[in-house]
Symmetry: C2
Subunit: 215 residues, 2 copies
């Protein structure tokens, strides 16, 4: 199956749905209506039904969705029914925050390596912050470590000026996914999954809404 | 003017264009082609032209765009031709990273207040990290401080379980913009500009691409 026509916004919403379904599951709930799922995720019920319709027929008329089934189905669709190995490259403020961002771990993401051009300078500070010893590797080791630890996704948290250099190193490795936290638009060969996540962009979006849409 | 029909993806790309134009301006460049602007921002030239066409006619046939003019125009469109005052609520790892995320400052965003439910516990640690004294306020002071310091946008960086409580406090204040970093979908009355920025969602997006679109 290849869902190449599915809009990215749908994928983002599916991710929100599944995270909310997880919360409901933890509470022991069994069934959810599209209206309730929609409201919790800040969309309308028609949108939920439309998003899910790309992938099949999940709801039961007059009942809603079985939470566990829908959650499992969305996880299969999104590729979240497996563990993804992450590496963080650049262990400054942001990188070290990510190193102990606990939410990753319960959500099929596992940080298996951390890289910095100054491992010696970073390791003590980070270990102290995290409260346990941390291994920081030099990006020169990226190719070898990516293969040995089966790194799927590299998170780039370096200064902007270093991002393309790191991207070039990733291109030479077995890693195929990149989440780029820097404002640099990195250039990659075909065959890589790259997402940029520069939060000034989202702030700009809030500013735009304030400027034009909020009274 | 009210650009209510403009797709959000266009707004996000405008933000990327203007950030790239700033880089070109700093380099002293004067003109850029839509092809070059597009390539640097990871889209195609037709997309650039289509995005800009929502707002007017900016290019000159056979020349391209005057960088300074286009940059000024996009900033006016996005509401970036003024300063926005930010508050960070929740000064844990993420919140304190944001406190010295320098890129904000040159981009019309100014952090004017930081809040935490445990100001005394947080202030020493953060001041040491930043290398200068930092003022941390209690969220009880939010209403008063929001008005006095004209806070436009609150960034929620608390634990997920606290997000709605903070959102309710914001709803009682003069703040109208929210950037929510927690996985909680906060519920707000009408009239607020709210963006959620939970990075597991973006990771899910990379995972989806790896699962289905990258060989």
């Amino acid at each position: 199956m290849k869902f190449s026509k599915v809009p990215e916004a749908t994928i983002r919403r599916l991710s929100a749905y599944v995270r909310h379904l997880e919360v409901l599951e933890e509470k022991g709930e069994v069934v959810v209506s599209s209206a309730s799922l929609a409201e919790s995720c800040g969309v309308n019920a028609a949108q939920v039904r439309k998003d899910l319709a790309y992938f099949g027929e999940f709801g039961i008329r007059g009942v809603g969705y079985y939470i566990k089934d829908l959650s499992d189905n969305i996880k299969t669709i999104l590729g979240l029914n497996r563990e993804w190995h992450l590496a963080i490259i650049g262990i400054g403020n942001l990188g070290s925050s990510l190193l102990f961002y606990k939410d990753f771990f319960k959500k099929n993401y596992k940080i298996v390596a951390a890289f910095d051009v100054d491992p010696a300078g970073v390791v003590g500070r980070v270990s102290e912050k995290i409260g346990k010893p941390v291994e920081i590797l030099h990006p020169e080791q990226l190719q070898e470590v990516a293969r040995d630890r089966r790194i799927d996704i590299a998170i780039i948290a370096t200064p902007a000026s270093e991002a393309q250099k790191v991207a070039d190193q990733i291109a030479q490795s077995s890693i195929r996914g990149i989440l780029n936290f820097t404002p640099t638009q990195i250039q990659m060969p075909k065959g890589f999954a790259v997402k940029n996540y520069f939060f000034t962009t989202i702030l700009d979006n809030v500013a735009y809404l304030l400027r034009w849409r909020v009274k």
